[in-house]
């Protein structure tokens, strides 16, 4: 392997690897804009110019590859390449490029959404020249172009790095964007009458190194330095993209993909990201409710366990097979464990089943038609998964009682199926619904248990590839909504059963007993990119489970 030196670090670097990748891997900062690890290399921004010994001029670190010199020709007798990223030559080149980039940039940072996470700002701070020589009228361009349903384009701020164009060509393969015109009037452009409208369009905002592309949903919401961020997992399909959840004052303002090679790379879909919009206007019940007749009565959690046990005692005729238990692929593993324990204790059966809700099609990039994030988790927990899109009315009809967790069979159904579910539920003696919103199904319940949303709690989900990842609490639930595992502890204890601590670690320990792939692991092992838990025996088990 070639031996190179970058600044004062000696590095053994793979033949053919670029200087920039090697430098980044070894913590050596080289400024860049057009380079992106998941996109083709174009060398257009010229920001990453470095000094390479023996080269007549500075070279772009992004496109210069490492080779091997013959034994007699090694630099200083041993190096195949010697690179300076901070020498006077390199710095002069970098400063020159930066000055060019700022020449026609509007410098409207005070009103720019990218401020605080802008690479132009960052490098100007690090490398820029405090005295400006840019005393000419700038080339002006439109400031607000709605180039797509979710993306707004400020043409003046664009530095023509072409990441967005390459994203649309190489990743989404939709090709909406191009460079148009030329010279200083060169701009990123869209075909007249068309839109930047593909399932991944907001990724262009993520990769835009400046404030040229902004998210219509997020722009002007909040200065990024006020955001509170946690690492979490998107729950909108069985891919389970690794995300960062940015929140402010109890509201989730945006989801940003975290680069996770084994799950989603650096991307995520717009649908998953825009869960922020779907969260708005949900009817969030604040506390546990019991209904008698048409009257709902609210409870404090500390009284609720006893009240629930008492309520159930009112139906002594309900036997194990009177119950329909509908679990959900939206439950975390810990919640599933809680549901299993509750089923065991109160209905004398191991658990209910999980519906496999699917719509749309799998695409070639990330999107999965299976819309529940933790179906694989259910399989690993030994919970049966129903046939895809099987009507839930079949499960409910003829039963006298139901426990429905994180599913809304009424709200999600239409036509005859909806009527059938409504009829089935209406004829039951006892319907217990637990969900993060007060759904249409909840309206037909006798007991409603308000659950924390995925963004308000810790929990582990396993994606379709068998990667277990952990969600985190991005916001404190605005009202006292709780994960189902906490509810399970409460419920079990109130009835005199043994139960783990009402905490995530308490129930996660329980999960580890059921999922072999998690045995001997700690929660830390799940961070930041998750853990493959589908070892060979587990895979067999899952297969058998599916057959059954």
């Amino acid at each position: 392997m070639p031996l190179i030196r970058i600044d004062d670090q000696e590095i053994e670097a793979p033949q053919g690897e670029t200087i920039l990748r090697v430098a980044l891997k070894h913590g050596i900062a080289i400024p860049y804009y057009c380079y992106h690890p998941a996109l083709s290399i174009v060398g257009q921004c010229r920001m990453c110019l470095v000094e390479v010994k023996g080269a007549p001029k500075p070279l772009t670190a992004c496109s210069t590859t490492i080779g091997t010199l013959p034994p007699g020709k090694k630099i200083e007798g041993k190096y195949d390449m010697v690179v300076s990223t901070k020498s006077e030559t390199a710095r002069k080149a970098q400063r020159g490029v930066l000055e060019f980039l700022l020449l026609n940039h509007p410098l409207d940072c005070p009103i720019c959404d990218q401020a605080g996470e802008c690479q132009l700002q960052e490098y100007s701070y690090t490398f820029g020249d405090p005295a400006s020589r840019l005393e000419f009228e700038k080339v002006h361009a439109p400031k607000r172009v709605d180039i797509g349903p979710h993306v707004v384009f400020d043409v003046e701020r664009c530095i023509k790095c072409t990441r967005c164009i390459r994203f649309c060509q190489e990743i989404s393969k939709t090709g909406e964007l191009t460079l148009s015109e030329r010279g200083v009037y060169t701009r990123v452009d869209i075909f007249p009458g068309r839109e930047l409208d593909n399932p991944y369009s907001v990724c262009t905002v993520d990769i835009c190194p400046v404030g040229a592309l902004t998210s219509r949903e997020f722009r002007f919401k909040e200065r990024v330095w006020f955001l509170k961020s946690v690492n979490s997992v998107c729950q909108e399909c069985s891919r389970g993209c690794s995300v960062r959840v940015d929140a402010y004052k109890g509201e989730v303002l945006r989801l940003v993909p975290r680069d996770n090679p084994q799950v989603n790379g650096p991307w995520m879909c717009d649908y998953g990201r825009l869960v922020t919009e779907r969260m708005k206007g949900l009817d969030l019940a604040g506390r546990p409710l019991l209904r008698s007749g048409a009257v709902w009565q609210g409870y404090e959690w500390k009284e609720f366990g006893a009240a629930l046990v008492e309520k159930m005692a009112g139906f002594p005729a309900l036997k194990s097979d009177s119950w329909a238990v509908v679990l959900s692929g939206r439950l975390s593993l810990e919640e599933m464990a809680g549901a299993q324990a509750v089923s065991q204790a109160f209905f004398e059966r191991s658990a209910g089943s999980v519906p496999d809700v699917a719509w749309g099609e799998d695409d070639e990039l990330l999107i999965r038609k299976e819309r529940r994030p933790n179906l694989m988790g259910a399989r690993l927990m030994g919970i049966p998964v129903g046939e895809q899109n099987a009507p839930l009315s079949g499960l409910l009809t003829g039963k006298k009682a139901a426990l429905i967790l994180r599913e809304d069979p009424v709200g999600d159904a239409q036509g005859a199926e909806k009527a059938a579910v409504e009829t089935a539920l209406a004829s039951m003696d006892l319907v217990i619904v637990a969900d993060s919103a007060f759904t249409d199904t909840a309206r037909l319940a006798h007991v409603f248990i308000p659950l924390a949303g995925w963004h308000e709690m810790e929990g582990v989900t396993v994606n379709f590839l068998g990667v277990a990842q952990k969600t985190a609490r991005a916001v404190v639930p605005p009202r006292d909504r709780r994960p189902f595992y906490e509810v399970a502890s409460l419920w079990l204890t109130a009835a005199g059963h043994e139960a783990p601590e009402p905490t995530f670690p308490g129930w996660h320990a329980k999960v580890k007993e059921s999922v072999p792939g998690l045995a001997g692991t700690s929660i830390k092992d799940l961070l930041p990119n998750g853990l493959q838990v589908l070892d060979a025996p587990a895979k067999d088990k899952v297969k058998k489970g599916e057959g059954a």
Binding site: G175, E176, L177, T178, L179, S180, E181, R182, D189, I190, F191, P192, G193, R194
Partner: protein, 163 residues
């Protein structure tokens, strides 16, 4: 007018046959894009976005790609120019030999600035970069006809001979 023009053009069998011939005449169809855009520019005196969308589909390219190409090359325009496109070379050798006076004369004569078109739609005046006939400066190209050493008197004569 242009929308009608392009709608007719992309249905014209003779034109489409030319397009197909170009597509087949190169090792790969994509090479025919620029020649086809030339055809359209010659027919319509511009390459409207409707045509860009049409040819993109025909060649299996994205419309954005075609637009990027059309706006890159000086000989393609998205707005129609006049029947006669007067192209005055403005680059150094022609400037040294008198292109500024030639341009000024044409501006005054036609009452338009570079980039403009006379009201009757006959003449458009533009400046162009080096036409590779520096020994013939100042040079003037009228549509595809190149005129060398064009004095203001020559320019008058050239224009008067046009319909």
């Amino acid at each position: 007018m242009s929308e009608q023009g392009v709608a007719e053009l992309i249905k014209n069998p003779g034109f489409l046959a030319k397009v197909d011939r170009l597509v087949k005449s190169y090792p790969r169809p994509q090479t025919a894009l620029i020649p086809i855009l030339h055809l359209c520019q010659a027919e319509l005196r511009h390459v409207p976005v409707e045509f860009q969308a049409f040819i993109a589909e025909r060649l299996g390219l994205t419309p954005a790609h075609v637009r990027g190409v059309v706006t890159f090359y000086e000989m393609f325009s998205e707005e129609p120019h006049g029947r006669y496109l007067l192209q005055v070379c403005k680059t150094l050798p022609c400037m040294l030999t008198g292109s500024e006076a030639l341009l000024e004369h044409l501006q005054n004569k036609l009452g338009i600035k570079p980039g403009g078109t006379t009201q009757d739609g006959r003449f458009s005046l533009i400046t162009v970069e080096c036409l590779a006939c520096c020994d013939g400066g100042p040079s003037l190209m009228v549509n595809e006809a190149l005129h060398k050493r064009v004095s203001t008197g020559d320019a008058d004569r050239i224009l008067s001979e046009l319909e």
